[in-house]
């Protein structure tokens, strides 16, 4: 073994002057070498070579979204690489307990999404924090979005009178095989961040701070594949585990007028006033039969989705964001009438009010008893009107050819609470509205 090899044991660039080579590659190359998310740190800190167990680095840990605002974060906020949906049963027994819970959640979300240091405690006590991100945490693009299920409006908390109009317990669609252990919940928390450590840390913080108030009912983690930025600055929708782009037809989240119509509950929705600026959250755990899918001819896959797989373009070609043309294709000879995208969004007069804002993640859980992979889509969608949105779209999809390859097994319907202003807490308006009715 040469002297040079000894100094670079385990390094793929053995035999080269490692540092110079990495500098020559630039940030991207260094990122690859460090197995990092974005790289750069290695080349600028030459004092110590990267070791196998070094933490991968990221340039986006400082990213933070403001906590106060008309709407909660995590809805029109760009979807990061990692997501997790956790449904809880509320253990608090009365209105006071629920308010305590909502205040604690608000305070924790405020802290976790801003970042900062934890209190250091006498080491003879359990530490205040799990420590998995170190003593000081970075926001890392974290958003935590609190939504409430129909069951929260039962007799326990005196909220029955203020339930959002369309909020109901999810019922099975024809292709569903719902697993009771992965359905519904009094509340849901959607965690999104740039890395998994951040979402898990946030969940553990919240569990630690809400004993006796919350019990996890089910949880599903997911992610989307991270891509290198394109040289032309264009962006593309991430792909699902069937290899197709997902979310291409999303209404643009920066179009405030459109979001006001489609996503945020407002005056036109005949909802309780407290619910304005909230949104309906539809969550579905949709298992994908990926082995079978991978054994399906590409042209059949494309006919089932109604898009080209690799480009994401409509069946008639072009690029991903070109609009599918159905006017000249009434028989579906180009885009089959029962293809997924044509059923979901037929682009007919009036169907624009059924548009939903999709925010899905891919999940991968393990292996089924038959040796097939348990993976699929953690589907999350937001809309101002659950009936006109997800439920209508799903009813149009019932019986679609894609059903051969997918099986919805869990999820639930929730109402995402409006945002908070300084001094307020999530759900404050909802409790106040119920109090006002009781006192009247």
């Amino acid at each position: 073994m040469s002297k040079h090899d000894t100094s670079s044991q385990g390094c793929p660039f053995a035999g080269l002057d490692r540092r110079r080579f990495l500098q020559g590659l630039g940030a991207a190359g260094a990122g690859i070498a460090a197995a990092g998310l974005s790289g750069g740190a290695l080349a600028s800190q030459p004092a110590r070579a990267a070791e196998v167990a070094d933490a991968p680095t990221s340039a986006t840990t400082g990213q933070a979204y403001p906590w106060h605002g008309a709407h909660q974060q995590g809805i029109t906020t760009p979807r990061p690489a990692v997501g997790m949906l956790v449904a809880f049963d509320v253990l608090a027994r009365d209105r006071a307990g629920l308010e305590q819970l909502l205040r604690i959640l608000s305070e924790r979300i405020d802290f976790l999404t801003r970042g900062g240091s934890y209190e250091q405690r006498d080491p003879r006590y359990p530490p205040v924090d799990s420590g998995i991100l170190g003593p000081t945490i970075d926001p890392d693009g974290l958003t935590i979005t609190l939504s409430v299920g129909a069951s929260l409006f039962d007799e326990r908390f005196g909220l029955a009178e203020v339930k959002p109009r369309h909020l109901e317990r999810m019922t099975a669609f024809p292709n569903d095989a719902l697993d009771a252990a992965r359905c519904h919940g009094d509340i849901s928390l959607q965690f999104c961040a740039n890395s998994e450590g951040t979402t898990i840390h946030a969940l553990r913080d919240i569990i630690k701070n809400t004993p006796g108030l919350l019990m996890v009912r089910w949880k599903q983690e997911g992610s989307v594949p991270v891509m290198a930025p394109r040289p032309d600055g264009q962006t593309e929708s991430a792909r699902n585990f069937l290899g197709f782009r997902d979310g291409t037809a999303n209404p643009p989240a920066d179009d405030r007028t459109l979001m006001q119509q489609l996503v945020w509950v407002g005056r036109n929705n005949a909802e309780p006033a407290w619910a304005h600026n909230g949104s309906y959250q539809a969550v579905r755990l949709i298992r994908n039969f990926v082995e079978r899918w991978d054994r399906t001819p590409l042209q059949e896959q494309e006919a089932i989705f109604g898009r080209r797989r690799d480009s994401g373009s409509p069946m008639h070609g072009g690029v991903e964001h070109d609009l599918p043309q159905y006017a000249g294709d009434p028989d579906g000879s180009v885009t089959p009438l029962d293809s997924h995208i044509r059923l979901a969004n037929p682009r007919t007069h009036g169907s624009e009010r059924n548009l939903i804002l999709r925010r899905p993640f891919n999940y991968s859980n393990g292996v089924e008893a038959n040796g097939q992979l348990d993976m699929g889509l953690l589907f999350i969608a937001y809309q101002a009107d659950l009936q006109a949105g997800f439920i209508t779209v799903q009813q149009r999809l019932d019986g679609e050819p894609l059903e051969e390859y997918i099986k919805p097994v869990g999820g639930g319907y929730f109402f995402t609470l409006p945002g908070v202003q300084a001094g307020d807490f999530l759900g404050g308006g909802m409790l106040a509205a119920a109090d006002a009715i009781r006192e009247a």
């Binding site: 253990l91 405690r121 003879r124 019990m215």
Partner: protein, 277 residues
Amino acid sequence: MLISRRVLLAAALSLGALQAQAAVAPQALVAPITDYKLYVLDNLEQFTEHTRAFTEAVKAGDLARAQALYAPSRVYYERIEPIAELFADLDASIDAREDDYEHGVQDPTFTGFHRLEYGLFHERSTDGMDVYAERLMSDVNDLEQRVQGLTFPPEAVVGGAAALMEEVAATKVSGEEDRYSHTDLWDFQGNLDGSKKIFELVKPLVEQDDPAFVARIESNFAALDDTLANYHLSQGDASKGFQTYDKVSERDRRALVGPVTVLAEELSTLRGMLGLD
């Protein structure tokens, strides 16, 4: 007899074991630890007696009697688990569950109460169970001997209050502890009583500094007792036993989880409050 035992134990307890940088004076813990050792020895005595009756019923092939004695025998063990667990080998051979073995119930090293539970409640037979009964009895005798000679580490005793609630949170609430006999509530009450005992013994040491802490603990213990009381076989008398866990309503399961989690969280600070390392 109890008094002389207590004097002996107090004298035998070396202050060296209590050399923690204590928030309370180390001497203050001598009496509670002594009392606790008495509690453990009393329970062990009863445990041995009940286990003898239980294992003899198994060996005699009296299925109904063996089934009836299963849960009442275990209660004593569940109360003193923090001490029993100091002897990991015996804890495994007495109280391991089939999940602890790769080959589950078929694993040849799987012994103890839960192996017998499988035979008595799942296979409904005492056939082939005498070997497990013999082994259990000898393990329990061994445990009693070993505990008698043990100097109780204060941090294990005080930490035991929280450890018992962790037991409940991990395996009792889900009904997986006694999955064939469904006698989980007996064990639940045993863990709860054991935790309460420890807390009561050290309560005078923390009451003055943090009365709110004591109140939170006591109200959550009381909440658990109240919910468990819904399932007494004989109203108001836990010693007569409990209905099977499958009878517990979803609502009551949730009503149990809340206080259990609060107690696990609150009691996890007890060692710190007493300045134990």
